[in-house]
């Protein structure tokens, strides 16, 4: 069993008028990438701010490598790097000066280290430019570079993909995965970009209305509740085929283009194909469609809130 880096135990944050985070507990192990999902106002950022000590939990404990954030703040933060709510950097300074400033807050970070991290995030050619001339994506990279300067064990990233171009997103993903594998850093990421999260994270936690709805690995999430999968049949008369499936199997069917989509277990494929062929239809192709994370996510939110969905 790998080492636990971050541990939250029954963490609750109550504001005067509402409970932002309610009794949340989870662990992140070293080398793990932990995705944190949830609609706006669900408590994602509040949780991350509590982990970084920017605000204090009303109840519960947060420990980083065994050091309590509340009681051993300095030791806990020595092991933590992060970027919360995408702050502007010091615009009047160059990228290098910004990194130098943050490096000077720690003991023994050499110029080489600064330059190395600048290279890792791909800013090595723009280090001499003032940060106020940077694009949002470049600022994001600078933010990640400053979070990594002191070799943290835990990296907290609030919306790291926002403002990045598609290429940047891919690079960032590779970069983070590399960090987790190579340096055994535990990474906690929150994002709205479900597709990216799906590809990036090992574990996903879904939070809604301050409560943790689900923590599962991606695989566990995708398996679904009853093991059913989405199957696509490419046929010549999709409307007719749809009717057949609905009438004879009572499955839920979606028709789109020249395909029908059926939610059914794997062993039903032969039976459905046979029935379609029996009715004189031609099948050009059959494939299993993975349920997208977005669908799973919507299902989860819907389920736990009794069908009441917030705008997402």
């Amino acid at each position: 069993m790998s080492r636990v880096i971050l541990k939250l135990e029954n963490v609750t944050k109550a504001f005067e008028d509402r409970v932002a985070v309610n009794n949340v507990s989870f662990e992140i192990h070293e080398g793990a990438i932990f995705g944190f999902l949830g609609p706006n106002g669900a408590g994602k950022t509040t949780t991350m701010r509590m982990i970084c000590g920017l605000t204090k939990p009303t109840r519960g404990n947060i420990t980083i490598c065994g050091y309590s954030v509340q009681h051993d703040f300095e030791k806990a933060m020595q092991l933590t790097g992060g970027i919360i709510e995408n702050p502007l950097m010091y615009g009047y300074m160059t990228g290098y000066d910004n990194l130098k400033y943050y490096a000077s807050l720690y003991k023994g970070i050499s110029k080489q280290t600064i330059l190395a991290y600048a290279k890792i995030v791909g800013l090595e050619h723009r280090l001499k430019d003032k940060v106020k001339h940077y694009s949002l994506g470049m600022r994001q990279r600078l933010g990640i570079a400053q979070a990594l300067l002191h070799n943290p064990k835990l990296l907290i990233l609030d919306e790291p993909f926002s403002g990045l171009d598609p290429q940047g997103v891919v690079e960032m993903r590779k970069f983070l995965k590399n960090l987790a594998i190579k340096y055994k850093i535990a990474i906690m990421v929150s994002s709205h970009m479900l597709a990216e999260m799906e590809q990036l994270c090992d574990t996903l936690a879904v939070i809604n209305n301050g409560q943790l709805v689900e923590i599962k690995t991606i695989r566990q999430l995708k398996e679904g509740m009853d093991g059913s999968k989405r199957i696509r049949f490419k046929v010549d008369y999709p409307n007719f085929a749809g009717k057949i499936v609905i009438n004879e199997f009572r499955y839920k069917v979606d028709v789109a283009g020249n395909s029908i989509y059926v939610s059914a277990t794997e062993d039903k494929v032969t039976e459905i194909s046979k029935r379609l062929l029996d009715n004189g239809l031609s099948i050009f192709g059959v494939e299993f469609i993975s349920k997208s994370l977005e669908e799973i996510f919507m299902d989860l939110i819907k389920q736990k809130t009794n069908g009441r969905i917030e705008i997402f």
Partner: protein, 699 residues
């Protein structure tokens, strides 16, 4: 450790800000401007220089009043000044002695009388009783003699006239006369004691002598009572028996006499500058007007043109007088008078200092003259210089002693009053207790150390003491004074932006997740600002030192620093300069803390800068409006400049023509330790609040 790390990191940021270089340029420009605006002060006439004369001629000039060339160095001028000082001391001494001798005899008399009473009641033997009675009679004679001597003193001196405790003296005199008469008419001790007991004479004497300190007010009291009773009588005579015209006329004349007497006493008071200090001038003027009016009302009775009936005239005049409300006006005026006394110890000290020093100098001058007489042909320069010095010393002594006596007596009179009272009396607006104390300490130091050739008023300024036109230290002080204004504003901007800009750009979130407790972040930022201030102050100091040394001579003659108005230290001018710089840094620290606190608590750059700057400007200028007010010294930012407690107040008024606006606030009730307490307390409270707010804040 973390604090230094943060401070170091802040410095990386500070030196990347373009505004910092702008500040450096502005500071340099201001220092250059201060070079242009500095007005070197010409040396004032301190040392009497008489060149081109023989010593004999000098002596003639010094002693001979008729010589037109003597001018400033007339011996009689200084003699008069010293004599005036001594007279002043003697005047107060005489009053004190008079009261003391009288109360001493009074006490002895009462002890004897009590003895006699006890002996009679115990029915002791007759011889013993008679012995005591004889002693008592003798004491009564002594009492009378002392009393008469005192009264002679009072009657013979116009100067004392308005201080005379007339009513007290007349009351006491009547008691003494009756006691003397009774003791001389051959009555037995028993009869005498009975007589004294029946008439409560001992109580009367006691009540009279217990108030013998009230010089001015008792005079006024006497006339006030007279006028009051006359007025009442007069009023009643008209109201109750309207036909008694003869009585009315008598009373009218009596009243007029009393009012006129009172008016005369007031005129005497008004003419005497000393006493105007203690009297509300507005009250006095109002009272004088009312009295003039009252006299004219009374005189209008004799107006031949009036065809009113006598009765109607009476009634009119009485009503007019009544409406004038003279007795209550006098009452008000009386309230504004205060007790006026100087302690005998102070007077003895003053007299001793003066007499010893005058004697010493006079001997010096005489010895010098004797030597000259023995060698009449002597014309060498050394003798002339020595003689010059003696004359200068004599002049210095005269000036210093006058200051010392004037201020000491004024201070003693004011000390029992509270600050409100001092401000209330118009004449005292210009009298600053702290300044007076400081000047007394200074004059004392010079006289006691034989440093006569110091012109007391200008001593603290470096240039005045150096004996040269202007010293490099004078320019340094001037330049530092101006640089301080600029640096304080810079420090306020710096401290406010260090905190507020973190909030504005959101970088506070990136700072707060570093492994530093929150208090270390604040302290680190404060430290960074202070190092920044230190660099600017040192830059100004070195620049002004170099410029000063290049342009003016660097004179290292010791200067006199007066600490907290009571202790005098002769120190090297550079030491005083460093003390000045330490105080400047403390002052800037105060505004830095304010700016940092406000920007932390309210997250507002604008609020922090405007509040701090307004405080700074008020501290510079508010003393013009409220300098004398009692509460003024408790405003925290008034106490931020501590250099005034090292004699700094006088420096600024005289060096380089700095505008009066920049004179540090010198409080009438100033005290170094109280100011330090208010200064330290304010900073401590602000920092604690800031630390707590910053600690519990969510980012």
């Amino acid at each position: 450790m973390g604090v230094f790390r943060i401070a170091r990191a802040e410095f990386i940021k500070i030196f990347k800000k373009p505004s910092v270089y702008m500040m450096g340029v502005i500071l340099a420009a201001v220092l250059v401007l201060s070079l242009l605006f500095f007005q070197p002060v010409g040396k004032q006439n301190i040392i009497v220089k008489l060149n081109g004369s023989t010593v004999g001629q000098l002596y003639d000039m010094f002693t001979n009043d008729s010589n037109p060339a003597s001018g400033d160095i007339k011996k009689s001028n200084y003699d008069a000044q010293i004599a005036e000082s001594l007279n002043q001391v003697n005047f107060y001494k005489t009053i004190n002695e008079r009261n003391e001798s009288l109360s001493k005899v009074n006490g002895e008399f009462i002890i004897l009388y009590n003895d006699l009473k006890t002996q009679i009641s115990k029915e002791d033997n007759e011889t013993k009783i008679n012995e005591t009675y004889t002693a008592l009679k003798k004491k009564l004679d002594q009492y009378n003699t002392t009393f008469n001597n005192n009264q002679d003193l009072i009657n013979n001196s116009e100067f004392y006239a308005h201080f005379t405790t007339l009513s007290i003296y007349s009351d006491l005199k009547s008691v003494l006369t009756e006691l003397t008469n009774r003791s001389n008419d051959g009555s037995t001790p028993q009869i005498f004691v009975n007589f004294v007991e029946n008439n409560n004479y001992i109580e009367k004497i006691n009540s009279i002598s217990s108030i013998n300190q009230n010089f001015v007010s008792s005079t006024i009291n006497y006339y006030k009572d007279q006028i009051k009773s006359k007025h009442t009588e007069y009023y009643n005579s008209v109201i109750n028996s309207s036909t008694s015209q003869t009585l009315f006329l008598t009373l009218k004349n009596n009243l007029k006499t009393e009012i006129e007497n009172f008016s005369k006493t007031l005129k005497l008071l008004e003419n005497d500058t000393y006493d105007l200090c203690f009297i509300n001038i507005n009250n006095l003027k109002e009272l004088n007007n009312s009295i003039t009016e009252a006299i004219s009302i009374i005189e209008s009775y004799d107006d031949p043109n009036s065809n009113e009936t006598a009765l109607k005239k009476h009634t009119n005049i009485v009503t007019k007088l009544h409406n004038l409300n003279l007795p209550s006006k006098i009452e008000n005026f009386n309230k504004s008078l205060i007790n006026y006394s100087v302690s005998t110890e102070t007077l003895n000290d003053l007299e001793k200092i003066l007499k010893e020093n005058v004697e010493e100098l006079k001997n010096g001058i005489n010895t010098s003259i004797e030597t000259l007489n023995n060698t009449p042909s002597s014309e060498n320069l050394k003798d002339i210089n020595d003689f010059n010095n003696l004359i200068t010393n004599y002049k210095g002594l005269a000036l210093n002693s006058k200051t010392l006596v004037d201020l000491t007596i004024n201070l003693e009179a004011v000390t029992p009053l509270n600050s409100n009272k001092i401000v209330e009396y118009n004449g005292f607006n210009d009298f600053n207790i702290y300044e007076a104390k400081e000047n007394i300490t200074r004059a004392n130091y010079f006289i006691k150390n034989g440093l006569y050739n110091q012109d007391y008023n200008d001593v603290f300024a470096f240039n005045k003491n150096s004996g040269l036109e202007t010293s490099a230290y004078d320019f340094m002080f001037y330049a530092m004074k101006i640089a301080t204004l600029i640096i304080t504003v810079f420090a306020i901007f710096m401290a406010a932006s260090l905190m507020a800009s973190e909030y504005d750009s959101g970088t506070i979130k990136l700072l707060a997740i570093r492994p530093f407790k929150r208090w270390k972040i604040i302290t680190g930022k404060l430290l960074a600002t202070m190092i920044f201030v230190l660099i600017f102050v040192l830059f100004s100091f070195l620049t002004s030192l170099v410029a000063g040394v290049c342009l003016y001579p660097l004179d290292n003659t010791t200067v006199l620093a007066i600490f907290n108005s009571t202790q005098a230290f002769a120190i090297h001018p550079m030491l005083l300069m460093l003390l000045n710089i330490a105080c400047i840094i403390l002052e800037i620290f105060f505004y830095t803390v304010i700016a940092l606190s406000i920007s932390t608590m309210f997250r507002s750059y604008t609020a922090a800068i405007s509040t701090s700057c307004i405080m700074f400007i008020l501290a510079l200028s508010l003393n013009i409006l409220f300098g004398g007010a009692y509460w003024y010294s408790f405003i925290p930012f008034i106490n931020a400049d501590l250099f005034k407690f090292f004699g700094g107040s006088f420096l600024t008024t005289q060096v380089g023509g700095i505008n009066q606006l920049f004179v540090p606030t010198l409080l009438t009730n100033a005290n170094f330790y109280i100011s330090l307490g208010i200064y330290g307390g304010t900073i401590l409270i602000l920092l604690i609040i800031t630390y707590i707010v910053f600690k519990v804040k969510d980012f």
